[in-house]
Each structure stands twice: as structure tokens, then as C-alpha cells.
Symmetry: C2
Subunit: 539 residues, 2 copies
Amino acid sequence: MHLNPTDSLPDRKLRSRVAELLVVRASGHLEDQQRRYPRWELSNVALEQLLGRGVGGVILLGGSATELQQRTAQLQRWAQHPLLLCADVEEGVGQRFEGASWLVPPLALGRLYNQKPDRAVALAERYGRCTAEQARRCGLNWVLAPVCDVNNNPANPVINVRAWGENPTTAGTLAAAFQRGLSSAGVLGCAKHFPGHGDTTSDSHLDLPVLPHTRQRLEQIELPPFRAAIAAGVDSVMTAHLLLPELDRNQPATLSKTVLTALLRQELGFQGLIVTDALVMEAIAARHGAGEAAVLAFEAGADLILMPADAEAAIAALCEAFEAKRLPLERLDRALQRRRAALQRVIHQAKPETTISMNVDRQLEAELVQASLTTRSTAGIGAATGINLIRVDGVFPCPALQGTAPARQLPEQWGYRSVVIHGHGVSPWQDDPEAPLALDRLGEGPVVLQLFLRGNPFRGGKDSQEPWKAAVQQLQRVGRLAGLVIYGSPYLWEELEPVLEPHLPAAFSPGQMQEAQRQVLEALLEKSGSSIAPGDFTD
Amino acid sequence: MHLNPTDSLPDRKLRSRVAELLVVRASGHLEDQQRRYPRWELSNVALEQLLGRGVGGVILLGGSATELQQRTAQLQRWAQHPLLLCADVEEGVGQRFEGASWLVPPLALGRLYNQKPDRAVALAERYGRCTAEQARRCGLNWVLAPVCDVNNNPANPVINVRAWGENPTTAGTLAAAFQRGLSSAGVLGCAKHFPGHGDTTSDSHLDLPVLPHTRQRLEQIELPPFRAAIAAGVDSVMTAHLLLPELDRNQPATLSKTVLTALLRQELGFQGLIVTDALVMEAIAARHGAGEAAVLAFEAGADLILMPADAEAAIAALCEAFEAKRLPLERLDRALQRRRAALQRVIHQAKPETTISMNVDRQLEAELVQASLTTRSTAGIGAATGINLIRVDGVFPCPALQGTAPARQLPEQWGYRSVVIHGHGVSPWQDDPEAPLALDRLGEGPVVLQLFLRGNPFRGGKDSQEPWKAAVQQLQRVGRLAGLVIYGSPYLWEELEPVLEPHLPAAFSPGQMQEAQRQVLEALLEKSGSSIAPGDFTD
């Protein structure tokens, strides 16, 4: 990785300019051994070397907001030139970094828009502002949001509740409001995933989805939210790893000149940064080497290359392509100009503040939960010796149930022993389609059922294979369902709600955060003189 | 909580001097809502007020090492006078604060001492130095260790592997070596729990244990490690919440003048700080109000009051006792002198370093694991479609299994699906003493069994009720035990090892950290051409 001493000065200069196009992946933690995805997150030695050689951006994941403050300052010190520092904080900084605000998924506001459009728009703008303010306090200057995909396909495993709407108008209006919020706080935004990832049923993290739509259909459904975000001044657009054979029969959008240059740059007139989605994703990585993927993306019209599978290979291949005149140097000049112009728009803070989350942020978090809650029949869960059955995706870690989570603590105070079901636990299922829950494994008494379930990447169809409808019917049949809460997917709620007995206490919250748990359970649990036992004070 | 404007100046001065004696509890996180034990951890408003009124110390728990750096700086800013900043980091700073080094429990070196005394002593000193260096980098100046209790009772639910030895010589020699390590790095130590908590079978977090020993017996077993630590210059001694009727039939050690003044101060000649164990613990809190407990402790001879159940009440009661001359003011002068003298011994760092854990620390962590590992039969676990059955205490959170834990990942790469058993999961047990594991709930194939189990406070006898011996015999009987690892308790290992079939791959590691998992599993798993699947890169 060291500079070759025989390199001529122009070579080095080209290489450092090319390196500016790259956005590499790092953990938000400070220590190498804390990395949660060490296969994808560069070591500190590699990071320092790449940033020293001119790499221009870093995408961060993992750690607390306080750690992120230190981390971004450290990366910026290593770089000696202004960095683009970004994260996938679509649902507030707290979605990825503990201690910051974790907000309800965008689709919650998409649903609210149908009843109260003005309120939804106002909340979306505050949502963007809160995310940007906190990102800035953590040292980030680029938020990889808003999602501009229209989730018109409930079976979509990867977009789902991340979308701002299920129709183009809602999605576009709210994405634009969110972007205004970002801009007002001096942080860059990113409309994704161009030209629209909402109508897919496969996950581009795992495979290359194919979208059969014509140009005309795109104009009706997929493109309007991107047009709205662009009109609102969005600073960057992220490409989708989707094959659209009607537009380009050979290359996915990320590598397609037709999609990036002809459609996005020329027809839609987008003047900002075009950034690829992560090139390590299987949809790209399974088909092209790291160097060639970067060259193809840049050739198609991208300015920035996100998470190349091998940064050194990407730099080398791009340099070679410029030297061989496969790529014109004017494209490089233009991409770097756009990058610099974007950096000039972000507000640099002299000194990071210690406090990330302000009262106004907590107020917004609570308001969003409240505005998106559906309660069907309330205050009916009484104290009893029973089971608090909670379903989560995983527990290493499980942000929703950490620490003093109301979803565990409140039912426990009412007498319900928590039993947590997750992919790595003992199975609660038995081989009986009519009675799928193995009740003998759970214990006696009434069951408060809480399902944390939403579309998640990398899970394929696993979530939807769990027979929750039959399980709810089974529990009702034996008279043991005391209450039901769904945190996350409106589609699951719409599937289960119709089979519930008339007066069964039940609720749906799009948000899974502890504030949502508190609001839901305070509505469903009967007010009773529950007393809190003294409890542990250390671990 | 505001100052009463009618207070006279002398009142205020006394109150602020009394406040210096207190050590209150705070979370290591920066934000109130991140507190894991909000019942015990003061809010930031309350902390800032108490520190502003002169409270002299804070004990911290929770958060990452990086957060702790920011947190200690913040507390010190609020105080405007030098604080004692401490934590229960008996097993390295990483035991409580992620990102720092988590070292094997002290008893591992106690066992090593029986074979290689010089090596054990050298490692204990490096252990102390590593803990102190990292504590200092995080802004702590007081490490609440070494434990000087002699764990001569394997059923001890609260000391157990936290002790440096099972006999007085080993415990004293290693505790003194650890203390030398602390002193060499300029951080205060604390010998605990005086006069010796090793021979109890009940947990003082939950109840008041009674120790029937005579003064003569204490001289033989309990006191030598404290004498050794005092000779090594330990800066403070923490009292035990134990009733020793042969010494004082009325008051537990923490509140006993006989124990603290006559025995520790006069007979043992200890000149440093005497600090109570947490006064919120049930052994004290169930018997005395917050104010009276503080007065009784100070009257008995304590200098510092740790975690009073109510800091304001403790200050008020102490002031009243001084004003009423129940307590002589000379005692206050003397306690404050000792506190100031201790603070003068700690090295203040101009600026905290970003990096907490150095290469030399990681080297020590690995060496300690290696020196304390017992492997019985190695390299026998081959690739197979089976179950990786892991038992842990809990999962919210589970530091041992977080992120890329080898205990999960390595067996998974060899084909074993992880199933994690914990107190909040679906039960793996059935009602059959000869075959207690409900194998139908776990799935098919050979089982790699990994038990994370060690003495833990607040659990009572829960851990020892799990029938692991019968479960191991059951798995062997049906020919399904592929391997066994115990992380934690040497006593469990000694119970299970004799029933293992002759060539069964099995190992014991006192440490539960990921470095221990890596070393154990690399020894037990057959070298095979396992390939790592690409895997997730986000959550």
C-alpha cells in the first residue's frame, strides 16, 4: 500500500485526485477490535493510509453518538483535506448510533399524510432538521437520506417502511420536506435509490433485482419523488443496483449510462453529486471485479464510488482508465468540482458539543410516536401471572430491548414474565399449522404478545415465514391472548387486526424505540398499583 | 435541592465539607435516557447540582471507554474541585466499559500461582498496571480493586472468581502485586471487602450475610491479604456488609467501630481512606434510613460514604451529627485530609488520549487467556450439521456474544447452528432429571456445548440450579455431545470434567471474552477448509 518511490509526480497527483472520488467504510468505534463487520470495515492502519493518500469520504456505522464525535474528528485529522463524512441515518442519528434520537420510520408519516397532509409535511421537515442537527453535532456532514423509493409493493423486503410513501405524491412531498429540514441545518442529503427501488420483491444486498417497467411507467410512479427532492435542492442522488431491461438491457442502473447520464443528468437535469450504492453488494460484486465496477460506474455517470470492494484496486483501475483515455479527464474535473461545491455548502462546527440530543429532539421523537400510533381497544390488560412474549429479529445486539426497555419492564411489573423469541434462541414453534406455537415451552397464564417485525435487509423472506396469524388465532382459541402489539410493519398489522376478537387490547406502532413501547403499553395496561421491586444495580 | 437563602455561611461551609465525603453513582453515558439503572444513577441535573454543592466523588458504570472519557471530563467541569472518579473495574476497564481491555478474572491467576508463582505475580502486576493506565486514559483516578477476599468457599455467590486466591497467601501475594501495578501508573486502589467476604454463601446485595468466625480465625484466613495490600501501599479499603457476631454482635462491619476503627485503623495500622461499600445495598438499606446509615458508617470509622440511598439526606444527617457533636469535627478534618492526600498521589493528565487500548494491553489480554486455559482433548470437533448450544446469563446486553464473537461465528463456520439459552428465552428444559434437555426443541445433529457461567451478584442460587451435569450425561448417552467448553467457573468445570467420555474435546477458560473464545475454539475445532460466507454488512 506504500507509494511506489518510482511514481512520477503527475501519477501521484492523478491518483490522489481519483482517490477523492471514493467513499470507504469505517466503523464508528475507535478501536479495530470493536468493529462489528470487520470484513467490510477498514482497519485504522488501512484507513489512515487511504485518507493520507487522498480518499475523500467515509461512511460510518456502529458505536455511540459520543464515539462517533471522536471518530469523525480522528478521521478528519488523518485526512488533512475536508472529508465527506456520511451515514445511513434515514431514521435519525439514533437509528445507527446510540444516544442520539431514533425516529419512527418514514412510512409512518406517509400514512399520516393521507389524513393530515400539513401535519405530516411539518413533521417531515422537523424530522430532517433533527437528523441533520444531530449528525452535525457528531461530525457528519452528509446524511444518506431521504429514501425516494415508492413502496407500492408491500412485499418489498428492503425498502418497506423506509419509504416516505406508498404513492408518488406522498413520497415526493415528504422526501422534499425532509430535505428542506436537512438543508436548513447545513448538512447534505441524498435521494435514493435512483431510479426507484420500491417495486421489487428481492433484496439487492443478496441478488440483482429486475424491474420490467417502461420509461412511461417510471414517469408515473418511480421518478416523481426524485424530481421533488431535486427541486428541493437535494445535494446527491444514490443509484440503485437494479436491472431495468426496458432502459438498459445489459447494465444495472448503477453502471448504466442510459440511467445515470441520459435520464438523471440530462432529462431530470440533476446537477449535484451522483453516488453509487455500495459496490460490495452482491448485485454488483458477484458480476464485476472491484476495479472494473468502479470504472463502469464512473463511466456511466457516477461522481462518487461508495464502498468499493477494494479501494486500492478501484483507484488503480480508475487511474488506468484515465491514463488510457477510456475515461475523459474532464469527467474527473467535473466530479471533483461537484464534490468541492457540496463541501462548501456544509457548515463546519468549530468544536463539537458534548450533548447530542436536545429536549426539542426528544419532544419530536415522542410527537412522532404519538402521531403514528394505532390503538384498537385500550386499557384492557390487567395484572396477571402470565407470559410477556416478545418477538425480535436478533439479540446481538437488540437496541429495542436494551437496558430499561418498557416492552420488558412494564409487563413484568404487571406480572408477565418476559420470554424473548429470536433467530438464535430455542424455537417456540411446533409442526402444527393450526397451533404453531409450542405453548408448553412458554409457561402458564395469559400471553401479552409483542412483535417487533419490519422489513430488514439481508433476511430474505425469513420474517414472513413466521405463522403469526395462526399463532394469534391459536392463543385466542385457548383463551390465552391478553393483548397484542406490533412494532414496525403496518402490513403485518393489517394482516392480524381482522382476526382479533372484538375487544382484545391491541395496538400498532411503526416505531420500535423505547418511547413507542412506553406510549403503547401505558395505553394498553390497566392502571393498577404496580410496585417496582428494588432490583439490580450492577452487572 | 436549592440552597436555603437563610443559611448562614458557616452552615454552608460545613455542608460543602461534608459533601466531599460522598461518592455518588452516575452512568458512564452522557445522556439521561441512556442510563441502564435509572433508579440508582442520578440524572444530569441532580449530578450537576450535587457536584456544585461539593460532593467529592462519583462511581461510574456503563457506556464505552470513549464515552467515559467525555463523561469524566464533564463531571469534573461541573465540580470545580478535584473529584475522586472511580469504577468497579476489577477485571480491567473493559469489564465495564466497552473498547477497553477485559482481562481474565483474578482467580485465574490464583490458580496459576499454585504452579508458577513467579509468572502469576508478574502477570498480576501487569494486570494492575494495564487497568490503571486505561482507567487514567478514561479520566478515572481510583480503581475499586483489588478484591482481597479469600474465596475458600466455592459456593460463594458474590466473590467467587473475583478473588485473587483460594488461600490467604495466594490472595495476598497477588493482590499486592496488582496494587503495585496500579501505583506504578499513578491511580488509587481499594482493598475490599474488609474484613473478608470470601467465606459467605449469601449475597450482601440481597441480604446481610453472617460470618461466625472468631478474631483468631480471621487472623488465619481473612486478614492476611488485607495486610499484604496495606503493606503494598493500597490507598483505600472498602468495608463489607457482613455481620461478624464474634467481633460486633450488633452492627455489620460497615457500621462497626470495632471492625473499622479498632481492627482496621488501630490494629492493622491502616492510614489511608476507609470507604463503605454501597449503602444502597439491601444489607444496609433494609435496616437504616439513608441519613442514619451514613452517620453510623462515619461514626464507625469510615471516611467516605459510597452510594448513599439519598445523597441530600446523608449530607443533612451528617451535618446534624457534627452540629450536635455526636460526631467530632476532628474526624471530619482527618477524613478530608486523607482524601486530599490521596488525590495528590494521582497523576492528572493534561489531555485524554483518544486511544484507550494499546498493543501492549491486547498482548496482556491474550497472554492471560493463554496462561489460564485448560484443554483436555483438542482438535476433535469436526465440521458437521449440528447445534452450537450456548448458555449465557442474559442477552440485554451480552458482552461476550456481541458482534463478531468467535463463540458464535467459529462453530457456525463449521456447520453448527447457534442456539442461545438465557434467562429470558424459551426454556430448553423438560421435567426429566435423567434427561433434562428438551432435545426436540434444539434441532438435529451433534451439539457443541458452550457454557458461560460464573458467580454473579443479584442472581442468588439461580445459576447452580441448572442441571448441566445431567445434561452433559444425557448428550453423551445419545451420542450427540461433540465438545464442551466452560467459560467462567472453575468449580463447574471441576464438576463436569470427571463425567466426560475419555476423548471428548473439552476446555475450560476462566475468561469469557472474545479472545478466550478464539483461543479455545481454535484449539478444539479440527482444522478444515471452512469458508466464510460473504455475510451481512449492515443492520
